[in-house]
Every structure is written in C-alpha cells, then in structure tokens.
C-alpha cells in the first residue's frame, strides 16, 4: 500500500509541499497585506496580462499587426490548437497527458482525403471519427491496461503519423473546391473565423462540463487522488477512458480544420509539435501538470498568447534561430513569475 501518494505524484509539477497549497480558492493563500493582494491577482491572471502586454507591444512595434487581417490570420492558426488544448486540459486534469494529439490531427487530415471518394459528408465525419477511434484506443490503453499516458501517447505519436503517411503514400493531397471546406477554411463572421467560433463554442461546452457535470468533476477528482477517487466509488476507468476519447475526437476535428485551412490533406506537416504547444498553453493558462485542477479559459488565452508570440517573431522578421531562444526564455519567465511570490 503506497502511502503519501500525493507527494509521490507531484512530479509533473512544481513540488509544493502539500501543506502549503497555493490555490486561488484558498482564503489563506492571499496575502493579508494590501501590497501582496494585487500581486496575487497579477500572478493568478498572468496569462491575460501577458497577452494584453504582448498585444500592446505588437501594436506599437510590429508593422501590420494593427491590420484586422492580422487578428483574423492569428485566429485561423489558433483554432485547431484551441481544440487540442481542450482535450489536453482534460487529460492533464486527470494527472495525465495526451501526446498523441498532433499526430492524430495528421491522421484525421489524411482521412479527409481517404474518405473523399465517398463524398464530402463522409470525409468530414470520417476524419473526426478516426480521431475518436485513436482517442478510444488511447483511453483503452490508459484506463484498462493502465499504461502510463505519457508512454501510450508517445507510441501513438509515432504510430499515428506513420499511419497517416502510409495512407496517402507520404504525399500531400489537394482537396477539391467544396463549400464545406471553403466555409471551414476561409469563412469568417466579421473578423472571426468560423472555425474559431466553433472552437470557442466547444471551449464553452467543455468549461461548462468541467464545472457543472459529474463527468467534469470526476475528471478532477481522479486527478486529485486516484486512490481516494476509487474508494469514493468514482468510475475511474470510465472517466479516464472518456477523457482520452474526447481528446482524440477534438484532435480529429482540429485535423479537419487544419486541412480545410490548407486546402489539402497533409500527413507530414499537419500538427507537428502541436502537442507541445497545447501543453505549454495549458500550463501557462493555469492548469498544473500535477492534475486536480483545470482552467479552460486560461488555456484558450494561453494558446492565443503563444500564437501572438510566434507571429511577433515572424512579422518582425526575427530569424527562426533567435525566435526559438526567445520563445524558450519567454515560457520560462512567464511560468517563473506565476510561481514566485507565492
């Protein structure tokens, strides 16, 4: 019988002693002094402040950023990542992780081309269904076979992309002009892409599910303590299974969105390293990797933050090499500021 599970599993996250929780919910954790209060607010909402600061900076410095098309283009890029960040957040809340999402996007993208001969409808549905299938398989591995999600995700990350490439013989396949793809790939309402609206609507649904449904609560309870959840009669396996299935399905949808945007099925480049962006966005948005907590709104803003960051490098023509270093520094500093002062 393992004791002290909770500290044992702090590993994915900052190792705060369990007696010293730093939760926004704890009344004790707010500093009594007036000076500390605003600092706490700043820290807990750092992702919003950081995004605001970055946007202001870009508006002043970056040529073309104030162009409404800049926002539009950013939102197009961000929509698929928002979707996979949603699934990722659920997985992280259960103290897991889903590394397969980027490759699942590629597989879904390849599936669009594979199902196209049967019509546009089957292509749309089929690609998302393939994502769901991979998610179910991942869920089976994690929930039933109790494989560590990091490893099952890693194996799927490699295998799903291989499968995607094998399906299309490694090549990119252009999608035909069809209203459905045009709508997803280029349609906007005002400056906001339709796919972003869909992603936001799904984010709202997930946020509601997390807050108000048993499934959402189960996910958090399972993440907070697996052992306690089991004894409290919570359907641990079913919850885990569902979480990964949802994550896979959302990744499938993200793959469809990305393909529509590209006007092509691209098994090679769709979703490469997106899992890392989704994880980073979640953490920056306030969902700790050690589970038991979740912040959907934070994750959405985390995704936007990283997208704006990428865009500011490209638009200022900062060489990729330096951009990568700067991005790394930015992530570390952002998270450091979130932690310190606690």
């Amino acid at each position: 019988m393992a004791i002290n599970l909770e500290t044992n599993e702090e590993r994915l996250s900052p190792s705060t002693p369990p007696q010293a929780p730093q939760s926004p919910r704890s009344p004790q954790s707010t500093n009594p002094g007036g000076g500390g209060a605003w600092r706490t607010v700043l820290r807990e909402h750092s992702v919003y402040f950081a995004l605001a600061a970055l946007v202001v900076f870009n508006l002043i410095v970056t040529p073309g950023f104030s162009n409404p098309f800049a926002a539009r283009s950013l939102l197009f890029e961000a929509a698929p990542i928002v979707l996979i960040a949603l699934g990722q957040n659920l997985a992280i809340a259960t103290r897991g992780i889903d590394l397969s999402v980027g490759s699942v996007m590629a597989l879904a993208s390849a599936s669009v081309a594979v199902f196209l001969p049967y019509g546009i409808g089957p292509a749309l549905v089929g690609s998302v269904a393939v994502g769901a299938l991979v998610g179910l398989w991942n869920g089976f591995l994690v929930a039933v076979l109790a494989i560590d999600p990091l490893i099952s995700g890693l194996a799927l990350l490699v295998a799903a992309r291989g499968l995607a490439q094998a399906l299309l013989g490694g090549s990119r396949v252009n999608l035909p002009d069809a209203p459905a793809f045009d709508l997803l790939g280029a349609g906007t309402v005002g400056p906001v892409p339709i796919i972003m609206l869909i992603a936001l609507a799904l984010a709202a649904v997930v946020a509601f599910v997390v807050r108000r449904t048993t499934f959402g609560r189960y996910a958090i309870l399972v993440g907070a303590s697996r052992g306690a959840a089991f004894l409290a009669g919570i359907p641990v396996r079913r919850t885990l299974f569902l979480v990964y299935a949802v994550s896979g399905t959302l990744a499938g949808l993200a793959g469809l969105f990305a393909s529509s945007r590209l006007g092509a099925s691209d098994p090679n480049y769709v979703g490469v390293n997106f899992e890392l962006d989704a994880i980073a966005a979640s953490v920056i948005g306030g969902t700790p990797l050690s589970g038991g907590r979740i912040s959907i709104v934070g994750a959405v803003f985390g995704v936007l933050l990283l997208q704006v960051l990428d865009a500011s490098f490209i638009m200022n023509n900062i060489s990729f090499t330096y951009a990568q270093i700067l991005k790394a520094v930015f992530i570390v500093v952002a998270l450091y500021l979130q932690r310190s002062g606690a």
């Binding site: 019988m1 004791i3 002290n4 007696q19 052992g227």
Partner: protein, 536 residues
C-alpha cells in the same frame, strides 16, 4: 507502569528550547508566541485539540518550517535549522504524524537513508547496513524483515520503522508526533518500552498523542496548546485529567472516558442481517472471514496489527476482488462488488489511510464531502449546485467541521477536521452499513466524542456499523460486540458489555497460541509482562 521516577527531584538540563515562536500560514496563525523547554531524560507531553498547532511546532523544531519570529536554543546556544537535515545533524529527530518514509525502498534503506554505513569512503556498505538494520529491528522487537519493501508493511510496522530510524540516528532530541495512532496496544507497549529506555539514556523526548491515558503513562511534564498558543504547562500531578482536558478545550468536558454505554438495542430479530459475510477470502491476507451485523448494531473488528482488518473491509467493499466467499446486504447478495456498486447498495467505507485514500488534495472541503454523492445530486449528469451546497452546509454543521468555509481547501484543515469531512462523505450517501477503519485515528478528544456520538446516533437510526480502532478501550466502549480477527480469519466474538481490554487480549492470546505465529505470541506477551518479554 514506568513513570518519572528519577526526574522529580532535580530539574534536568534543558536541551532544546523555543522562545516566543510564532508562525502564520496566510491568515492562519498556527503558532503564537510559543515557548517550550525539552529536558534531557524527560518525556515531554504535548497535547491539544486538532489544529492546536502541535504538528506545526514540531515542524519548526525540526527545521521544516522557519518561525516568523522567536528563536530556538540547543544546549543554551541559539540555533537555526534551515532544513530537517540541519536539525538531524544537530541531533534533533522526529517521527512525524503522517508517516514519511519511502514505500518503494527496503526497511534498511529507510532506516539508514542519509547516514548509510560506507565502504572506501564513498560506497554504501549494503551488507553492514542490513546487518545493523537487523540488529536494530531485533533490539526493538520489531518483527519486520530489514530487506522487505517498506510499502509491503502495515502502517503500524511502518511507524515502528520510523522510530527505529530516529533511534539509529543517535538523536539527542527525539520527537514523536502521534506515534501510537496507528499502533495496536501490543505495539504500543513495545514503543513505550523503547521510550523508557531512551529516557534512561538521557535523551530528551517530545510526545504527542490524543490518547490521554498514554500521556499519563509516559510523560514527565505536559504542555497544553490551544489555538496556536501554550495555555498551560505542568507535571502530571499539577494537571490531572480534568484540568488537562479543560485546558485543551478551553471549557469543561464530559471527560475523556465518558463513553456513552451502548444500550444493546440491535435488531437481531430481523430476518436478514444488514450485512452478512460468509467465508470471505482474498489472497493470503483474508483467509476466512465470516460475520453478521444486524441493523442498529455496532460491531467491533478486533485484532492485532496486521491481522487483516483493513483488507477485510476492502474486500467486503469491493475495493479488491474477493477470491471466494459471499457478501449479503440486507439478504441480497452483493456480486461483482466494486466501490461504486457497494455504495449504491448502501455500503460506506472510511479508509484508515486518510492521506492517499481519503482526501482529494487541491479540492475544497465541499467538493471532498460530496465526492461519493455526485450521481444522486445530479440529473442527466448535471450537478445541482443548490443540492450540493445544501449537503455540504448540513454536513459541516452536523459534524462540526472547523473550516473557513465550504470552499476552503481540504489541506488547510487539521487532521481531525479532515477526518470529519471524510466521515461526512461516507454519511452523505445515506448508507445502511458503515465500515469504519479506525475512524478516530489522530483526532482529538472533543472530535472523538463527536464521532462516537454520530456513530451511535446512526446506529440508533437503524444503521449497521462495523468499526476498528487501534485503541481497545475505545472499541469496547463504542461497540455492542467484538469479532476477533486473527491472521485473516474470524475467530468468534464476544459481547463488550462489562468486558475489559485484558479479556480481549486473552482471547487473542489464546488464539494466537494455537497458531504457529510466534510474533503474535510475543507481542501479547510483551503487553502483559514487559520484563519477561525483555528476556525473550
């Protein structure tokens, strides 16, 4: 019983002292202006309600927390410990309330972590380490294999390993934070034996316990804490039981042992018992368990440490799959049991391992309380906020959980209040059968009374209760009858009316003698005759 024989005449030398120590966590003032003196060759008792600040004080003494204000002196010299390591090196060691060892490592590894015997100056001498561990284990009559994985031992045995470690470090100040809460009375005797020996060796000891009888048996001096401050100090003579309790609670109490006698109103006439267990088996830990509990009855499951009480509960509850045997609830068989199914059928189970199987850290008190109830306060999967809030409010009120509010984090509560929240979780599903594994472990006198009151009320209202406790007196007072468990098998029972602990031990001893388990015999022998056991 050993008492402060040598210490009453001259005041012994002060070893570790605190002066005016304060410590706050956010808005909680866990310690205020605490001054305490630990003397060589003296056992100092630290008592107080749950959340009084005892554990926090200890963590300050061992360098785990730094005091906000105040100072520590060791041998008259001012010191600061920046980490438990620093304290350990200065000879201040602690056996913490929540067992803090490494479950995946061996007993010997745990005992010698950070002070392993070495070879060639750098390499760990494993052979010598195992030998020395075996020596220590034998000297303190711990029946554990030094090479065994610590996690494979029961909590009690782990507690003893923790103690063995403190001793092997050659500490000058040894702090024991509720060391007995997981021990059975036999083990407690071994522990006390050790403590007596250490006292004779001139070591300064700090002893924390919610079992006042133990405190009186062992301590030379008391410090009473309330709300983070020291309210009284004095010798046992100066502070008799009633005064001590009054000081702890800040009011008069009905007294520690005023257990309400059970009226014995069990519904034994019922056609089907509320819970019937027949020849239950699970691996080699639960070998043959049968018991029947009627509505309104409180049955105690008595046994030595490691006799399989916890495993029995878990098997009944479906947390582990029985290999054989039947469980009936109100006459209907419970098949393919899982916790969820058991709960739906009216069972409720409270684990003895609060930390890893009880609380959901990071979540609020409210969320902790309703965890098992979610299917019932939701419709089509949507949780009803109003019902949730109502359940939580009622539970906090009913059990008197001390919390800043339903949204406070469970980890900010003291151990006893966490326990109450977990009991509230069990009760929330309105069970017909309650399985309580050591429900009063680590909770204070006042809270204990409340738990007893609640349990007895529930039984009066028609529940069937099965309960264990590491305190035999408590078990006798609380229950209608006992079922004795030995090595995973039930061995008949006895009514508790008029019985005393020795009677139970006699039953246990008799059974143990029949079996070939020498350790059980030895443990019981130790209880009755420590001196004789010494020679054994």
């Amino acid at each position: 019983m050993t008492t402060s024989a040598a210490t009453s005449s001259a005041t012994p030398r002060a070893v570790l002292e605190t002066r005016g120590v304060s410590r706050t966590f956010g808005v909680v003032r866990a310690l205020r202006d605490v001054s305490l003196t630990l003397r060589a060759g003296e056992v100092h008792g630290l008592v107080g309600e749950n959340g009084a600040g005892k554990s926090t004080l200890i963590k300050v003494l061992t360098g785990f927390h730094q005091p906000d204000t105040g100072a520590l002196t060791l041998d008259g010299k001012s010191v600061t410990f920046d980490s438990p390591r620093g304290a350990q090196n200065a000879g201040v060691c602690a056996v913490y309330q929540e067992i803090n060892l490494i479950p995946e490592r061996s007993v010997a590894d745990n005992i010698f972590l950070c002070h392993e015997p070495k070879r060639f100056g750098v390499l760990v001498d494993r052979k010598r380490m195992l030998e020395r561990a075996a020596e220590i284990v034998q000297r303190y009559r711990l029946s554990v294999d030094p090479a065994a994985r610590l996690g494979s031992l029961g909590l009690g045995a782990q507690q003893m390993v923790s103690l063995a470690r403190g001793v092997s470090l050659g500490a000058r100040v040894l702090i024991l934070d509720e060391p007995t809460s997981a021990l059975s009375s036999a083990e407690v005797d071994v522990l006390f034996d050790v403590v007596d020996r250490l006292r004779a060796e001139g070591i300064a000891l700090l002893f924390v316990s919610h079992r006042l009888s133990e405190c009186y048996r062992l301590c030379d001096r008391f410090t009473v804490m309330r709300d983070g401050a020291v309210v009284r100090t004095g010798t046992p003579e100066e502070l008799p039981r009633a005064a001590l309790i009054a000081a702890m609670l800040g009011r008069e109490s009905s007294g520690e042992h005023a257990w309400t006698e059970r009226s014995g109103s069990a519904d034994t006439a019922d056609a089907a018992p509320a819970l019937a267990v027949d020849r239950l088996q699970w691996g080699n830990r639960v070998r043959d368990v049968s018991l029947k509990v009627a509505r309104k009855e409180i049955v105690g499951l008595a046994g030595l440490l490691g006799s399989g009480r916890t495993e029995t509960f878990k098997t009944i509850f479906g947390a582990q799959k029985a290999d054989a045997g039947d469980v009936d609830i109100a006459g209907r068989a419970l098949t393919h049991a899982t916790p969820a199914r058991s709960i739906a059928r009216g069972l409720a189970f409270l684990s003895e391992d609060r930390r890893s199987e009880g609380i959901f850290p990071r979540l609020s008190v409210g969320e902790n309380i309703v965890a098992s109830l979610l299917p019932r306060i939701s419709r089509f999967g949507f949780i009803s906020r109003a019902k949730e809030a109502q359940v939580v409010r009622e539970a906090i009120e009913r059990l008197g959980i001390k919390t800043a509010g339903p949204n406070a984090l469970i980890t900010t509560l003291s151990g006893g209040n966490q326990q109450k929240a977990l009991i509230a979780r069990c009760l929330s599903t309105q069970p017909t059968v309650l399985l309580l594994d050591d429900p009063t472990r680590g909770i204070d006198v006042g809270a204990k009374e409340e738990v007893h009151r609640v349990v007895q009320e529930l039984a009066r209202d028609g529940l069937a209760v099965v309960v264990t406790s590491s305190e035999m007196e408590e078990l006798l007072a609380l229950t209608d009858r006992l079922v004795v468990l030995n090595e995973g098998a039930t061995q008949g029972g006895m009514p508790t009316a008029g019985a005393n602990p020795d009677d139970v031990l006699a039953v246990l001893a008799g059974d143990a003698n029949d079996s070939r388990d020498v350790s059980a015999t030895r443990d019981v022998g130790a209880t009755r005759n420590p001196a004789g056991a010494d020679k054994a």
